[in-house]
Symmetry: C2
């Protein structure tokens, strides 16, 4: 497959500015053969204008049309074959087994959203029929449903080059809603982005969608994204990435003359609480589960367990040592790029510079041909943690910090001071569960997903998934970026008052031609009206 | 009933600062006997801290507990008797018939939310059961529901002293969700606010809720609200009022170290399109419907029809004249306060200062003992409207602007350039409806509620109501402040992974003890699991 280095704007491959950046193979630190350019102001404008024009058609597309499009995108990604995985592996170093799985997750998400829009109840139709005899005035007929919000910008992160990137969860849920998408590709895997954009373009053409339904803009600096978010015709933003990047996008969107919602998933330290009896009863299995979760994908997951709280004891000290041993025994994995390595090194050095923090294992850039950091375990005390808010900072990589506390009460006090997280995890024996209710109550308040006796890594793409949480895990605590309810981010409600059946959308017609679940006069039903 | 002039903070009536303001009777322009103070920084802090402390209990209250509380608030408001209406009338001049109706709406909303939380399906429970045999790894059990978001600040407007104020829709939906509320009362009706706050305090005590579940802070300047929104323990804001006030609150919340969602309903010009055949066939009935809607409540409704688009013709000119005549024949009503009168006078003068705008009737402060402005009709052309974005500005009062257009196509062009509105209305004959599909398609994009052959004033409190819309109608286009789905603003999703039944909330337990509708393995059901 030929990589052009160009942007895809409403079906056309263009490149106004001269190329300035290439991806780098993280295993060799050598730049790839293809060079890419920053999208120009004119290219950004054309992409959003084309999206707005496309929206005047796609906002009225039937669910079946959107479902077929989502399936076509999945099929076109599969049709790229293993070359997609090879190009992606050369840009990310994530390895073919992981990328094969991630491709399956990506196409699975697209097909799940196809099923979701076909099923159709996601429009949350609510109907209150007229009361013509009501005194002193008749009550009108009011029917409400969710409609698509408009053109959506999607910012993809470095760590999921397929499942959270060009055709990832944000794009899939926006497409499912009927919203055109403009992706700002991540500069760490631009060739991968281009290949997937080509697949989407094929699906757009195949399905007869307007070309402006999808565009890809490349760029290595912050300017393209900032200009994109400021465009007056943009309606919403999906973002996955760093706290600094997400907050910058959020601030720009909030400062617009017409602010727009930003759904930014910005990172998380994913606290884990390991209760004493769990250590005593679960032994080696728990050691290898924790070590495996911290080092999975070189620790480059937003659900990586970065803080582990235990009650200090001889047994818990042995446990920390065992986790450190297991992690040290694993060869450290390759990191995504130079920036991840440099940032991680700076973050760990800063944490290790604190008097109350000791290094258990790792703690330095690893000798390697590629970007690499030693699997790292650090340790501190509950009292020190309470004294220093800086100890909650994320270390993005195969690194965790054990916090050895005086008591379970001290752990609970710490939890009430934690910021928002994507996940929170408890390991407990059956006996401990009986008294753990208030621990769960506290943890629930600071996370989007609460896990018992498992690990936070591995986000199931199921209907019930919540991949979100209080700030700074996300900028919008009432949303999720994984699972079927992610579609709600790109919808808004509208009510129709006294419209005749012929002018109503199918979802609201008396006969319920879509056969969806609705709430009619306060009752859940799939029945027709009248 | 004795009015103290104090704030209510977690069950205690306090006043740290000296009183500085009184409400003014809009019929006489004379100040009331009671004086009120700005809440102090310490009072604001105590109110929010008490709310946060209360939340640690109320977030786990059963639906039935919350339902009983909402019903108790309604009963306590009724127990205030007609003195509440008299105090309120003296502060607002809205008149006893209107206020009697508004009280009924207020208690009706509270009881509707009680019914809604008892029914219980609003938590949107979604369950994906485990697949222990899945390869390569078992799928965990994931169960998701909506939980309350935390302490909510409510800003009440001047124009609905009961239904959108201290115990209005924002407070009712936050209470229903289990969220403590801190109301910043509107300085135009502080005695009304105090009486209703007292009723809520009685309900709090009666139901054994923590006292911090509700507080009322008085204030006439912007400082109390700004300090409230900056408080680190606040989780969300509901606001109804002016564009300037709402945007200031939105900006402050977005600039917080930890931003929080702001649901601001900020005003709307509520475009109305009257098609030619509707004029021909509906005659006098349509004239009096439009005149009545513009002048209802002295035009002080957020759904007041401020822009009316017609195709220019002899018939439509006659129609404008007839509406003007009908409005001139009505004695102008009293306005809420000096600020409303002064702002309206400035707004209308500015609009009339434009060369392309002509005055048809009214256009000046009316001679009266009270605050009063003449019922006003202005007129311009479609071409002038397209040239001057300033012609979309709101005139808050009994004022409307007719825009006489060259053609239906010109009306459609104008619609695509309008900002967001709460409502949009079309008057059409049956014959015109057959070809009006694209008109509705365009109007839908700029509003939260689309009305056929009716008037935008009169917002039914039904399940399907959408009182929201694209910016600047609201700061959050995916929300409504009226109707049962208003509760969603104060909820966020959380997922539980592999928790045993005993530790799950009732809404997610296998047996479905609440009997609510849930989505289990992608199917809508009220059945138990297993």
């Amino acid at each position: 497959m030929i990589i052009t280095g160009k942007h895809l704007i409403a079906g056309e491959w263009t490149q106004a500015n001269a190329p300035t950046f290439a991806s780098v193979n993280p295993r060799t630190k050598l730049p790839g053969a293809n060079v890419f350019a920053e999208a120009s102001a004119d290219e950004i404008d054309r992409a959003v204008e084309a999206a707005a024009a496309a929206f005047t058609e796609t906002r009225n597309y039937a669910p079946e049309q959107r479902a077929q499009f989502l399936e076509a995108v999945a099929a076109e990604i599969e049709a790229l074959g293993d070359e997609l995985l090879q190009v992606c592996d050369a840009e990310t170093g994530l390895g073919l087994p992981r990328l094969t799985g991630e491709r399956g997750r990506t196409t699975g998400q697209l097909r799940a959203f196809a099923e979701h829009v076909r099923e159709g109840s996601y429009v949350e139709a609510i109907i209150d029929t007229a009361l013509p005899e009501r005194q002193p005035a008749p009550r009108p007929d009011i029917r409400r449903m969710l409609i698509p919000i408009g053109p959506v910008a999607v910012f993809s992160p470095n760590n999921f080059p397929l499942a959270f990137s060009v055709a990832g969860g944000d794009s899939a849920s926006a497409f499912a809603a009927g919203c055109p998408v403009i992706v700002k590709g991540h500069p760490s895997h631009p060739a991968t982005s281009e290949l997937v954009a080509g697949a989407i373009a094929c699906a757009v053409e195949q399905c007869g969608f307007p070309a402006g339904f999808f565009s890809l803009l490349q760029g290595a600096g912050v300017e393209v994204g900032q200009a994109l978010v400021k465009h007056p015709r943009l309606a919403a933003v999906g973002f996955t990435g760093s706290f600094r990047g997400g907050r910058a996008i959020f601030d720009t969107a909030a400062a617009r003359p017409k602010p727009i919602p930003v759904y930014a998933e910005m990172g998380s330290v994913n606290p884990v609480v390991i209760l004493p009896d769990a250590v005593a009863t679960k032994g080696d299995g728990l050691v290898s589960a924790i070590a495996g979760s911290v080092t999975l994908g070189s620790g480059q997951f937003c659900t990586n367990p970065g803080l582990i709280f235990m009650v200090d004891s001889e047994a818990s000290s042995v446990f920390v040592g065992d986790v450190a041993k297991a992690m040290a025994a694993q060869a450290p994995g390759v990191l995504l790029n130079a920036g991840v390595e440099a940032t991680l090194d700076r973050q760990v050095s800063r944490t290790l510079g604190k008097a109350a923090v000791t290094l258990v294992t790792g703690g330095a850039v690893a000798h390697s041909d590629g970007f690499c950091y030693a699997n790292t375990v650090m340790q501190t005390t509950g009292a020190a943690f309470l004294d220093d808010p800086g100890l909650t900072d994320e270390h993005f990589g195969p690194v965790t910090l054990f916090v050895m506390c005086e008591s379970l009460d001290q752990i609970k006090t710490i939890i009430t001071r934690l910021d928002g997280n994507l996940t929170a995890t408890v390991h407990a024996s059956d006996a401990e569960l009986a008294t753990a209710g208030d621990l769960f109550d506290l943890l629930r308040e600071i996370c989007g997903r609460l896990i018992l006796n498992g690990v936070p890594t591995g986000v199931e793409v199921v209907h019930a998934m919540v991949h979100g949480g209080p700030y700074p895990a996300t900028s919008a605590p009432n949303s999720t970026s994984v699972g079927r309810t992610a579609i709600q981010r790109f919808l808004r409600p509208v009510a129709y008052q006294n419209l005749p059946d012929a002018l109503l959308p199918d979802a609201l017609k008396d006969a319920n031609p879509l056969g969806i679940w609705r709430i009619v006069d306060n009752a859940h039903t799939r029945d027709a009206i009248g």
